[in-house]
């Protein structure tokens, strides 16, 4: 029976090229936008290399300091992390590193702009970078303040014209570093690992950072498993109450949290940034997507209703010759799901093109979108959902038609 439904559907599509074309375009476009959005989402939050262990990683991205007369929000400072985020129970490894900053190099008469990140040795142990040559610097390099650097592929190209960079010196922000490793580019959307040049924290020009409670640093905590998350969060929060404030007149209270990146984004998106609301952010995103889908769905439902009513006499004929209502619902739903699946294919192709266009436009540095199986499955689910949503109601309505009325053309 299904084979026949499909056969009939194809015949109808071919005979109604205009309708089919319009529907395919509408469905394809909608699915494309949703899939591009998903690809973005996946790019930001999905467990990609080098952040392969994202499912058991927490970060500390945010600090609010409060005093009698003032308050300030910033990334945490090294001193605060050093005092509160080391040796948390359930944490396998912790890494501290600076937020990416812009640094300039003067190189062979040219000014080169790069993103610089200063990190500890654990950074390279937690993250799984793809090394093209050499390797990472180590905890010892950080301990001994060795002037060594890891650079990415694009930076190697800028400085060394794609030749091997191992052992060669680069100048960044007035300091010289010896290159020990070259990694593949990491997208700017992966803000934790992202940089052009990575160097040890201890090579900073001054050691003022060692005393600062607020400013300039993030932390990454690799938990033994996600089950340890709540204990880690709890312990970190309680340690914050014991922070010693060098100048209590200015600040005497610290609010921060160990959280996933999604929780962090939800904190930034909420008006009161002292709490994260990941559930709410997710709800907002899902709502937006649903709202975005409603319009084309309603359109498609309308299109389907009028298309089906146009075919009222066909329905009458099929009923007269032995089709039950259920059979007809089946036929029309299959027709519609096929149509949306075809639209889904168009959406996939559109998504591929759009993402390739985005990558080559250079709007998002080093972005590398993949249509991985998550996006594929999500797109497939969307297409089927879309097809059922827009097909079932018209099919049901149509199947209720009285055969005699249907033969007369479906009025009333």
């Amino acid at each position: 029976m299904l084979k026949n439904y499909i056969k009939i559907a194809f015949k109808v599509f071919l005979r109604r090229k205009f309708f089919t074309g319009i529907s395919l375009f509408a469905i394809g476009f909608t699915l494309m936008v949703l899939m591009v959005a998903t690809a973005f989402f996946d790019q930001i939050f999905g467990p990609f290399p080098p952040e392969k262990k994202l499912d058991r990683t927490l970060g500390i991205f945010f600090l609010r300091l409060k005093g009698p007369n003032s308050q300030s929000s910033s990334p945490p400072g090294y001193a605060l992390l050093d005092a509160s985020a080391r040796n948390l129970p359930g944490v396998e490894k912790a890494s501290f590193f600076t937020v990416p900053g812009i640094a300039y190099s003067y190189w062979k008469g040219e000014k080169i702009k790069s993103f610089l990140k200063r990190t500890d040795g654990e950074f390279w142990e937690i993250l799984e970078f793809d090394f093209i040559e050499g390797g990472p610097y180590t905890r010892d390099d950080e301990h001994n303040a060795n002037f060594v650097a890891v650079i990415n592929q694009s930076t190697r190209k800028r400085f060394f014209n794609d030749e091997s960079a191992l052992g060669r010196d680069i100048e960044v922000d007035g300091q010289r570093f010896r290159v020990v490793g070259v990694v593949k580019d990491v997208s700017i959307l992966r803000i934790v690992p992202f940089a052009d040049i990575w160097v040890p924290i201890s090579t900073s020009k001054t050691d003022a950072y060692r005393k600062q409670l607020g400013g300039g640093f993030w932390a990454m905590l690799l938990a033994r498993s996600a089950a340890d998350f709540s204990a880690i969060k709890e312990e970190y929060r309680s340690r914050l109450t014991q922070v010693e404030f060098p100048n209590p007149e200015e600040f005497n209270e610290a609010t921060s949290g160990a959280e996933t990146f999604f929780e962090f984004i939800s904190r930034m998106a909420s008006p009161d940034q002292t709490k994260n609301h990941p559930g709410m952010l997710l709800a907002v995103i899902v709502t937006l997507m649903v709202v975005f889908m409603i319009l084309p769905t309603v359109n498609l439902v309308n299109l389907n209703v009028s298309r089906i009513m146009e075919r009222a006499s066909e329905i009458g004929v099929r009923k007269a010759f032995g089709a039950s209502s259920l059979t007809l619902v089946g036929q029309f739903v299959v027709e519609n799901v096929l149509l949306t699946l075809a639209g889904g294919v168009i959406g996939f192709i559109g998504t591929l093109l759009a993402l390739a266009g985005l990558e080559s436009s250079g709007l998002i540095p080093y972005a590398e979108f993949y249509l991985n199986y998550r996006i594929f499955l999500y797109g497939l689910a969307l297409a089927v959902f879309f097809g059922l949503l827009s097909g079932v109601y018209p099919a049901w309505k149509m199947s209720r038609l009285h055969p005699v009325q249907a033969l007369k053309g479906g009025s009333r």
């Binding site: 084979k3 026949n4 009939i8 015949k11 109808v12 005979r15 109604r16 006499s313 066909e314 009458g316 004929v317 099929r318 009923k319 007269a320 010759f321 032995g322 089709a323 039950s324 209502s325 259920l326 059979t327 055969p403 005699v404 033969l407």
Partner: protein
């Protein structure tokens, strides 16, 4: 004593069975009332009709006298408000959608005044429609559809679309569709009403052939007394009542 009673009963039973075997359509006290908001239209009143297997009858009457309604009730497209209906000796007791769909599919073939072919489908696909709702292979389906088209003399137009055919040809496709599943009853509602008289005569000849050769029972609504004369019996309706 019990033994003789039993014998008598069995005699009686086989006697009625014999009668029923010959009766294809039996209507007793059938009534059809259409109710819309406040208006009630009585379309059929107290119709008692029996049509024997292999009979070819015509139904005549002025416009609005209930001819189509009667045909739709016989064909299970419409539910009578009162009265009972038997098809080949089996009373129709359930008006559940699935049940009716099966009887329509197996026992009845419809032919309409305006043909009602599906324009999106080719001629042969149209003819296959009743067979789609039966379990059979695609090749068997195609074979039967082609045989039916052959029967109405249209085997050269198999892959045309309805809009590429003349009215007479379209009605022949519709007849092929109606007979593709070998139904025992053909119900034709003014099958020649949209055709000129020559084409109309051709269509009537095809129906008469089918009736003669396949013993198919035919009930035909017509306005044309000339055509009605050529059938075995005429049932006349006036205002939803039988008149004789």
């Amino acid at each position: 004593m019990a033994g003789t009673n039993l014998a008598v009963n069995e005699d009686l039973k086989s006697d009625t069975d014999l009668q029923k075997e010959n009766i294809m359509i039996q209507l007793d006290g059938v009534e059809k009332v259409y109710r819309t908001d406040r208006i009630e239209t009585v379309a059929l009143t107290n119709i008692n009709l029996s049509v024997k297997e292999g009979e070819f009858i015509s139904i005549m009457g002025p416009s609005g006298s209930g001819k189509s309604t009667l045909l739709n009730v016989i064909g299970l497209l419409d539910v009578p408000t009162a009265g009972s209906l038997e098809l080949s000796g089996k009373p129709v007791t359930s008006y559940k959608d699935r049940h009716l769909a099966r009887i329509r599919n197996e026992e009845i073939g419809f032919i309409f005044q305006t043909f009602h072919l599906i324009n999106d489908l080719s001629v042969v696909d149209n003819v296959e429609i009743p067979l789609l709702y039966r379990k059979m292979s695609n090749s068997e389906r195609r074979k039967r559809a082609l045989r039916a088209l052959d029967r109405v003399g249209l085997n050269s137009r198999v892959h045309h679309f309805p809009s590429q055919l003349s009215g007479g040809q379209q009605q022949r496709v519709a007849i092929a569709r109606a007979i593709a599943g070998n139904p025992r009853v053909l119900l034709a509602d003014e099958p020649t009403g949209n055709l000129d008289s020559q084409m109309g005569d051709e269509i009537l000849e095809i129906l008469k052939d089918l009736n003669r050769e396949e013993k198919t029972t035919v009930v035909m609504v017509t306005h044309d007394p000339r055509q009605a004369e050529k059938t075995e019996r005429i049932v006349r309706l006036f205002d939803g009542r039988q008149v004789n």
